[in-house]
Subunit: 323 residues, 4 copies
């Protein structure tokens, strides 16, 4: 790697005065050299449901959207923060006088005091990714190209597919390939096999790279924040099947793709990354599918990179992404 | 104007062999000089509802989205087109040996034969636009800047508002301003007044420039394809009230705006133009409102320009936009 | 293919009244079913050099850019077009009563009369593409993924590289791979070998997919409009070597890529397609290289598709791209 | 304002271990509530010129761009940072036990110790902006709309123009307007008058909102980092006059705009913000001018906002923009 080895501390906690000073003070005390750092105080609004859905247009004496400006929440605490606080700090490993285990144990008391939900990862330990595909090639080729050139500096633990289509291609790269059919009459066994393979190959992250199967609720629940999907629409538009057909029928002028964490609610998980591309009336559904592929693979690769670099912190059904 | 005067013929009809040749043949016969021309054959698919909604993921023996590729419809006709055909042709006025009225009457027989739904407009006749606003300034300032510089070469017949906020600003520009309050207990009378003003000022096009009122079904029905709205979301996401709050809650990574024709179904009309802008976790609802303004005014201006230049042809609930 | 076989006529000629009518009239006469058609009248301005370069800001009595509006040229002809005209027409093959050879011979007299620079291609005849690469993988993987899925419905005649890096990967796909080293002391022989391979494998199109060598003037001259390059900057910014370093030093906020036809003037050929991506101060040159890859492969693929579908017509040092 | 009053500390200094801890420690010591904070360690590379310009394509034994990866500089210090460090911190005013003057004086010793180049601004003190325009309306209307709605919470000290065109419009808003002609034979006096007005109206920031005059070197030198220009191209492409004509002639597929600080070198100052929009072969120079306006005003507004909110830190000829 071109960058010296570093540890990445990610954490969130109830907001209060002095968090940055306490955490960076601990690091400075040990002469830790901070390479990169990001902080975010979440607005309380995040916890409040919007009034939307039922349209209530203000009357004559009423007001537009701007007349009742969104409170940022910051003013409510009357002198005290009351939201949630997020941070991500990269510390150069060789600047610290101890190794990772000791870093963690020494940091623990402060973490406890600040009520941190935290982790520290080591850039020298490669993440192990399990890729699930069906019959479409674009995301798979794209991921393997990035892996091959070390742009994504990961281990691909294995590739799992409900078809045998890409066995040769995957195995040529020296990556184990597992064909796990998904018979309609016995999906439970198939999902159990996926789980077994993920565990056996010591996967950290599962990537649904245009995998045309809905994971079982059990699988979703087993790995919260560890399973990434690429959905071929700009969510929340066009949830579910055949989003390009839906987009064609509605006559939208842009189509998109969404990388999100998988939860038991179909296409409802926390969004990590999205992007769109322009289309027009001359584009058929097939043209959209083709344009969409370019967005899908790029959005998936970006979202996956953020995830692997510990840049994504989940907060309720939303994400903080320290790019 | 920098461009010579021209006539714009827009038309749609059942597709068949020879349409372009017939129509451009007529023009060539009269030595008409075509400045710009666009043609589009609509896919039959447009008329078919998608299977979407209920997600049916294919089983092991099944197939993904690509295995059952969308038929373009072109192959079905067995040698004959069977969709709908759209065209837009600009003919330089001084190249023709007759004026508009005669152009129309001479063209009528061919139009009848081809079953054309058609119109011919004259670039020298300025469209008359009626603008409806509430209390937000950005679209109004933007439209008046474009009108003032003749970038939009239109007449602004009048500005109507449910508030008196912008009277001075509008009247300073020499444009009539009408304050039509919208009391909750008697909106019907107010909408009747809007209609009366539109008729009295001989409006061609009504523009809801962030007008915070829902038009009555009667108004919508009276002017199909003549009323443009700018909705502050990337439709079909976040229909209805407070879309930025909805977007904030869902945690999307891009927000957008949609210019569409108004129909009786709220935010469901044919989409003319859309665009998006990137946001991230650090953006509050208020930040989104601010970013959104830039997209709203740009998308509205683009959509309005397409409409005024007869570049938009409505087809069912979709649009063909010859940019 | 999902679309019925069709012929694509592309042509340009001096503009005059009646071109569309004549050409589409010929097609209609033979009952030809037009699937798609595009027309463009070029402004005369294209032939005029801009005053730019030496900045002459207008004085007090002078005027801004808009006061001397660009003549569109259309007004100059005093009733006659005087620019150049471009067209592209897809005709369904089975709607015509003759085959390609006869189509061409029957069309010839009209083409001569209109002084057309024209060609007709058959969608059933796959283009033969020769890909040149060095050591970077992203464009190669991307092209092979598109070829593998028939998204790009072409023959890859062979891959040529100045390194042996990708031999295994290419040959696994069943595509011939040729290692043609580029010794500094004898590039002429190497370029002759590239030319020989292109001829021998009957290549139509040569694609420089991040090929880190400058082609010889002889090669460039031998295949005008047949060699596509992807340059890793938004031209005309950052011509030549290490454009991302140049971009880093200048502190730009967006970086881009450009797909263009290769001419003897380095990075000066007609531009087919471009795109950009946002960066910021936190991005190192290496980050830019990584972001840039995503733009490069997408822009190359789009430009190549336009080229292969006969959507690109070269006009001087510019292109007309009928998307 | 919806946000409580806050102080913004911006600073840069030689990088070393412990900067964040020291600065945020000072703030925490006084119970300062940090609303937002951003940090950036600059790569040493920034100070090194690129090898570019003369294209040296590597030979057979050589390597491509990636083989000599850009050193991030971080590895060179052998355990010590050696670049420059940047920060921006918002502290809620009412959380501190002292006012601005005391904040500054108490902070001074630490600032001296860390060799900070720093400033602290008060959100309650509105910046005073002087706008310079010529005859184009789009940026002026756009800025006044944002000012009118308090989206830009500034004072517009006055508008200066070399034409009298917008006097009425500006004065209607209650803003002083000064017509300062720019006779070719005596620009020095005119520039002196601009300087006098800027001083007299106590301007903080000068905005060239499509001002068609080149400022004198004296003016540029007098207010480094205080004068913003919007250039109508995606710099460094198309420096100087008539960039849209230049873009038309080169046949680019995107056009752009650049907001930058003005220096004595024309269009060479540090870039704050840029954006682009897609065009195609059918767009005339005039179309580009029209499209460009939308980008120009948006990019100027964004760049100006970053500047006014103390989000822009100049570093050599580049900027750090903490968005």
């Amino acid at each position: 790697m071109h960058k010296a080895r570093f540890y990445t501390l990610t954490a969130s906690c109830p907001d209060q005065v002095g968090i940055i000073a306490r955490v960076t003070g601990f690091i400075a005390e040990h002469k830790g050299w901070i390479l990169e750092s990001s902080f975010h105080a979440d607005d309380v609004l995040a916890a409040e449901p919007p009034q939307g859905g039922d349209k209530t247009i203000p009357g004559a004496g009423g007001a537009g959207e701007l007349q009742s400006p969104p409170s940022t929440g910051r003013g409510r605490g009357e002198g005290q923060p009351n939201g949630r606080y997020f941070m991500r700090i990269e510390v150069r490993a060789d600047s610290l006088p101890f190794h990772l285990a000791e870093f963690r144990s020494r940091f623990q008391p402060l973490a406890t005091e600040l009520q941190l939900d935290w982790r520290i990862n080591d850039s020298a330990v490669k993440k192990r990714v399990v890729v699930l595909v069906s019959k479409q090639e674009h995301c798979l080729y794209d991921l393997l190209a990035r892996w091959q050139s070390k742009e994504l500096d990961i281990e691909i633990a294995c590739v799992i597919s409900n078809h045998d289509t890409f066995r040769g291609f995957v195995e040529w790269h020296g990556i184990p390939f597992h064909h796990v059919p998904m018979p309609a009459e016995n999906k439970a066994a198939a999902y159990a096999e996926v789980k077994r393979l993920f565990e056996q190959t010591r996967g950290d992250t599962m990537v649904l790279a245009r995998y045309m199967q809905i994971l079982s609720p059990e699988l979703c629940a087993a790995y919260p924040g560890q399973i990434l999907n690429i959905h071929h629409s700009f969510l929340p538009s066009f949830v579910g099947a055949k989003p390009y057909h839906q987009a064609y029928t509605r006559g939208v002028k842009l189509i998109g793709a969404t990388c999100h964490y998988v939860t038991a609610d179909l296409d409802q998980g926390p969004i990590i990354e999205q992007d769109v591309i322009r289309i027009d009336h001359s584009d058929s559904v097939e043209d959209m599918v083709r344009y969409g592929k370019d967005i899908e693979k790029t959005v998936l690769a970006r979202g996956l990179r953020y995830h692997l670099e510990d840049r994504v912190l989940v907060h309720g059904n939303k994400t903080v992404v320290f790019r």
